[in-house]
Amino acid sequence: MKNNAQVSERFRDFDANLTTRPWIVIGMGLRKFGQIMKFKNYGLWSLIVIVYLFTLSRLLLSDSTNYPCTPVTEEGYRSCVPLNYYGDILQGGMRLFLVSIVAIASGGVIGNDMANKSIHLYLSRPISRLDYLIARFIPVFLVLILVTVIPNVMFFVSMWSDNGLKMEWLQGHKWLIFVLILQGIVYSAGFAIIGLTFSTLIKKENAASAATFIFIYGASIICEIFFIALKVLDVKDADFILLLSVSHLLDYINYAIFDTKYLVAAAFTYWEVDVSGIGAGIIFTVTFAGCCGLMYWMIQQMEANK
């Protein structure tokens, strides 16, 4: 009896001692990351293992003297190891696997919450809609960081090791490490936003994953085909067509981060691309701001209509 009374008293006088919004958001993000990275997600883990095996094989075959870039033309076009990593398989890149990882990791993140309507419970907590979107962005972003930044940093460390772990080499490449991280962040954030947008729009995990894959990878192939056709026909400003593909748009941004002119590998040939930074910036802003705005609007509409 006394015991029961004590339990009731504690229940009545309960003080939850709640934490602040940033910690709630970070906690939500990390718990979801843990759920995505469970070992039972065989598909995702298989792709991550492939990425790391591929990175190891590239490490074994690489030549440290040409790291990070090799000049291709006299006009300043270069072939760079960290940039090629994000290219297609024929270029020695991981794009196919990265896009597959994005599709699998992001497919159900928001969509499942919307399908089972648990989003209403999340949004009734002390977090805003933007907080919720950030909390759902974090796990996908972290999964992608695992396959973008870390393999490239591993490559960088390996190159340093090949050069005898000399401090002079490290000092000579001191900005490269920051560039590699920035590059990984741009790809991870960009792909994560696209994946989450489809998850929000479609609300069905598998369909959202398929749509993300087609939108990123399929669109890149279609744009390349049109690009080559327009180039062959010698159409002016044909290069802009590439920016209609998210992966090429992100490639362009990352070539800019590397201070290198954009070089596209398509139809087993390297093509020099020359587009204005302002045009690319506008397309980038419109695409990603549009995706974020659309997600926010859809959640808001769902809340208003139950």
Binding site: R12, L18, T19, I127
Partner: protein, 299 residues
């Protein structure tokens, strides 16, 4: 508890709330109204999930235009529709909801087991929610609203879709849990008996406008002097005879409801029955439920 001043919520041409002003007192308060009356809209505005088109609303002393997110630390919410993820166990789900409210892992775990103990959930709390019955799902939905120890909980149609036994059990659970945790209640429903069983006061809303605000006990007490009659023969004739004696009988399909003045009312009823040749099968003095009060207000 909640103060609303000239609140308007407009969806295109539709006014879900039309110049809605109210002072909702402390305690357990029910919002009654037909479907589309604006009950859920008001609850969502009070929760900060929707923004009012105009007007001002204050919840627990905080103005919602200034602080729509942090106020939810002090409010619990149980939505009407099924919104629990099937792939989690009851315990996992409540811990997650506790942590999304800002609780620590240990705090959320402890509180989860305490609440589930009060809900008398034994080993089934470790089962997947997909295996739960409708009543158990509703209990889990209620528990998630109370997990962070809110000062007030908003319940949106908490008994919808439940059979009579599960409904009674749910209402008893609401009463039990909110009493033991000293939590105030705002219950939005269109089921009158739910309000009678849980609430101290009631608000009736229709077409986004406040129709009535009253103490439940006062309504039921005020309207308790009625005689319920079941007769044979033609009702119309009997009602006409009563009318001659200046007694207005309300035809409730199964029974007739007649206001009780004093014991002479019985004699007048019997006299009317004799004159209209309508045999009386049953006659008893009874208290009236909120049903007719609600219908009178709405109509």
């Amino acid at each position: 508890m909640i103060k609303a001043r000239n609140v308007v919520k407009q969806y295109g041409n539709l006014k879900a709330l039309d110049n809605f002003s109210i002072d909702i007192p402390e305690g357990k308060v029910g919002i009654l109204g037909p479907n589309g009356a604006g009950k859920s809209t008001f609850v969502k505005i009070a929760l900060g999930l929707l923004t009012a088109t105009s007007g001002e609303i204050t919840v627990l002393g905080e103005t919602l235009t200034k602080n729509t997110v942090d106020i939810r630390k002090r409010i619990g919410y149980m939505p009407e529709h099924d919104c629990i993820p099937d792939e989690m166990t009851g315990v996992e789900f409540l811990i997650e909801m506790g942590m999304v409210s800002g609780m620590s892992l240990s705090g959320a775990t402890e509180r989860t087991h305490e609440i589930l103990g009060h809900l008398r959930m034994g080993e089934e709390k470790y089962r997947l929610i997909s295996e739960y019955s409708g009543g158990m799902r509703q209990k889990i939905k209620l528990a998630q609203g109370l997990i962070h120890g809110p000062e007030v909980i908003f319940l949106d149609e908490p008994t919808s879709g439940l059979d009579p036994n599960a409904r009674r059990e749910m209402l008893e659970t609401i009463n039990g849990l909110t009493d033991v945790s000293n939590t105030r209640v705002l219950l939005s429903t269109h089921i009158l008996q739910d309000v009678e069983m849980v609430c101290d006061s009631v608000i009736i809303v229709k077409d986004g406008k406040l129709q009535m605000q009253e103490d439940v006990k006062a309504i039921v007490g005020e309207k308790s002097n009625f005689i319920q009659i079941r007769i044979g023969g033609t009702k119309e004739k009997f009602i006409a005879e009563l009318k001659k004696k200046k007694i207005n009988a309300e035809d409730n399909e199964r029974v007739l409801i007649v206001p009780y003045k004093d014991d002479s009312t019985y004699d007048e009823i019997i006299d009317a029955a004799i004159k209209s040749e309508a045999p009386i099968y049953e006659m008893e003095r009874t208290s009236q439920s909120m049903d007719s009060v609600y219908r009178e207000t709405i109509e």
